[in-house]
């Protein structure tokens, strides 16, 4: 482990002091970019989880569980309009308060460099999950201009991979204000960019957070209908 003289935590800006018995949560690190205090505030998705969306069962009440699936996934899969499009979602971290705070700085305040914090673990997942194309969930042109960068694409790039962009996004008002049924029934927000070959391809969608799953399912549906062989997703947090 190499420590640069001025190593400063990317999150709390404190000087980084290496700890003996450093836990290798973020494996393969060459340099320390966050301190052990911040590092320990991230929690991994672990233990029993929904086979489809990776929702951990440990915090879920029994009646929201349906065997291997969570209640939400069961509802999606019962719906013939949505059945079978998203093969599986993988998630790395729990969406705890600390993650929320870091994500607000990364995504909304635009602190791009924070993508480096996640690079090593994203890389690990990208190596493990079989796929032909890594597709970041796109932003509309307006949103992209406003933020300055696409936070999902940055995760791929900073992990050393190349994103593919078979999707574009139509500008709509904010999603979070809508109810579940409105979200399901909104017209498709994505369009296919025919420049990118997707027929017969295995696709891994990348996004920062899995909240309701509707964004990822909309994208998956369009990609499958346009000829993709299989669509999975990877999100930083769940």
């Amino acid at each position: 482990m190499k420590l640069f003289p001025e190593a400063q935590c990317l999150i709390c800006h404190e000087k980084i002091i290496p700890v003996i018995g450093w836990t290798e949560i973020f494996s393969e690190e060459k340099e320390l970019i966050i301190c052990s205090i911040c590092k320990n505030k991230f929690e991994r998705v672990e233990g029993e989880k929904c086979k489809l969306c990776s929702r951990p069962f440990q915090f879920l009440e029994e009646n929201f569980r349906r065997g291997d699936l969570c209640y939400d996934c069961e509802r999606w899969e019962e719906d013939i309009e949505w059945h079978g499009y998203l093969h599986a979602n993988h998630s790395i971290f729990l969406y705890n308060d600390f993650f929320k705070e870091v994500m607000a700085n990364y995504k909304f305040r635009g602190d791009y460099v924070l993508a480096k914090i996640f690079a090593n673990c994203v890389k690990g997942f990208l190596k493990r999950i079989q796929s032909d194309l890594l597709v970041p969930i796109p932003l509309s042109d307006e949103r992209l201009y406003e933020r300055g960068f696409n936070q999902a694409e940055a995760l791929i790039v900073e992990s050393g991979f190349t994103p593919a962009k078979p999707l574009t996004r139509i500008h709509l008002e904010k999603q979070s204000k809508k109810s579940r049924s409105e979200r399901i029934h909104i017209p498709q927000v994505f369009q296919i960019n025919s420049q990118v070959e997707i027929i017969g391809k295995e696709i891994l969608l990348i996004d920062d957070i899995y909240t309701t799953g509707s964004t990822l399912r909309h994208a998956a549906k369009l990609l499958k209908e346009s000829g993709a062989e299989r669509v999975q997703s990877l999100t930083l947090a769940r």
Partner: protein, 494 residues
């Protein structure tokens, strides 16, 4: 954003020949077109400011029109010295506080400043917007200052100096002891500035102080609009002749104020954050007055005062005309070692028991939370209703209130209560005054908690220590020197 220069002004443009704004050599400023009818809302929002487009609820076309007609200025959000960037808003030029990203606004790898990111991202392609048109009209009430109180002799002398500095755009340090009543000392100077249609800002590092000062100034200047600015405040876009702000909020101002009054210049985080010191300078007009207020100037400033390099005035006596309590030094041995065995030095225990017996409330200061928390259960054996507070304590306000209501006899605290808080009749002790955290200024502030009310002007201040420090001696010297000056100038009754 990318621009190109067309007919001596900038035009936003993405195509060939365009550059991110920081790469344009000099930014042309079109002359003011007197026939242009400007948007008065934009005028109110931008006068004396440095904002980014994301701060403004106006379309960029409209802002560009104002620029082309000379009413809005564009500055580079980032300046380069060779390849080394400096953030124009916060002055940051430290490499480790910059990062880069592939920017969708300029299509290049763009530097951005992480130091002031909380106020919206400044990157190499960000224009900083300002106002170049006339300032908004400030209607003045007939009477500006409605305060009916009286200044003490010491306050009046300082107030006269403040007025003089304001009128002649000078710098002045007002060195006023804790309890001198420094806020009132600002009233006449502020009135004189407002009368001359000058814009005034009172800035302080701490939000608490902004919240405390705002109602007092609104009451003293009822006919004047007061903008109260801190993180999350609603006055963010309010144009006002009198602004009360945290030093942090000054980052959004540029050449705005004719008079800046900086309260508690020696308080955290102003002392350690260069960006805040930079902000205070940026917020002043080039031709302006700067008044510094503090009870505890740092060593460098004290030296500058003594050697005549810094204009200053002192208020050596409290408003109630009683001398400052002088701290007693009491050696308490290796108290931390005793604490490990869950014991307290006998003299500390005795001091506490005396206060409990005589029902005199007391504040006990500790260098660190850990030590304080070891102390607490031992003292609670004497009486259970003793409390302890520290910076991250969610119940801090409630505990301070309990102390004010005299519901608890003893409050243990870290240095968090060293300034700002006053209780009417207390004794004060510092446990472990030898610790590095207790600098001269901290100790003077702590001693300044005692004897604040005119009904109880006396209070005991004891520094329990395991070896006297320079800082302790300097603190006591500063306090006795102020008392001597108070006597000499006839500002003390006893």
């Amino acid at each position: 954003m990318r621009f190109y220069i067309k007919d001596k002004y900038l035009v936003p443009h993405l195509g060939e020949g365009s550059l991110p704004i920081s790469k344009i050599q000099t930014i042309p400023q079109p002359p003011l077109n007197p026939d242009f009818s400007f948007n008065p809302d934009l005028q109110l929002l931008l006068t004396g400011k440095q904002l980014i487009l994301d701060d403004l609820p106006f379309p960029h076309d409209e802002i560009q029109k104002h620029y082309e007609n000379g009413y809005v200025t564009y500055r580079k959000g980032m300046e380069y010295n060779r390849s080394q960037p400096t953030c124009s808003r916060c002055g940051n030029n430290k490499e480790n506080w910059f990062a880069q990203f592939p920017c969708s606004r300029c299509g290049e790898i763009c530097h951005y400043c992480r130091k002031c990111l909380m106020m919206g991202r400044i990157s190499a392609c960000t224009p900083l917007l300002g106002w170049n048109g006339p300032a908004p009209e400030q209607p003045l009430p007939k009477t500006i200052l409605e305060w009916k109180g009286r200044l003490s002799e010491g306050q009046q002398a300082a107030s006269n100096q403040v007025v003089h500095a304001v009128e002649s755009n000078k710098e002045l340090l007002v060195w006023a002891v804790c309890g001198a009543g420094k806020t009132e000392v600002l009233f006449e100077g502020t009135e004189s500035a407002l009368t001359a249609r000058k814009r005034v800002c009172i800035a302080t590092p701490r939000t608490d102080v902004v919240l405390e000062l705002t109602p007092r100034l609104k009451a003293a200047f009822p006919g004047i609009t007061v903008a109260s600015l801190y993180g999350g405040s609603e006055d963010r876009h309010l144009y006002a002749p009198l602004t009360i702000a945290t030093t942090h909020q000054l980052l959004r101002f540029y050449h705005a104020f004719d008079t800046v009054i900086l309260d508690e210049v020696d308080a955290f985080p102003y002392t350690v954050e260069e960006s805040l010191q930079y902000a205070a300078v940026q917020a002043r007009k080039p031709e302006s007055a700067m008044i510094y207020l503090t009870a505890t100037p740092n060593e460098k400033w004290q030296r500058e005062c003594r050697t005549g390099k810094r204009a200053f005035t002192t208020i050596p006596a409290r408003f109630h005309r009683h001398p400052l309590p002088v701290p007693h030094f009491t050696w308490c041995g290796n108290w931390q070692k005793q604490l490990k065995k869950e014991k307290l030095p006998a003299n500390i225990l005795h001091w506490v028991k005396e206060r409990l017996k005589n029902k005199k409330q007391a504040l006990l200061f500790f260098p660190h939370i850990g030590l304080m928390e070891k102390f607490l259960p031992i003292l609670r054996q004497l009486t259970p209703n003793i409390e302890a507070v520290h910076a991250e304590d969610p119940d801090r306000k409630e505990k301070v209130q309990k102390m004010r209501n005299k519901e608890i006899p003893l409050l243990l605290t870290t240095t968090i209560l060293e300034r700002g808080v006053t209780f009417s009749n207390i004794d004060v002790a510092v446990i472990g005054a030898e610790d590095n955290i207790f600098a001269e200024s901290a100790l003077v502030q702590i001693a300044g908690r005692a004897g604040r009310s005119k009904d109880y002007p006396k209070g005991v201040v004891t520094f329990f220590h395991y070896g006297k420090t320079e800082e302790m001696i300097k603190a006591r010297k500063q306090i006795t020197a102020m008392n001597q000056e108070g006597t000499r100038r006839g500002l003390l009754d006893s």
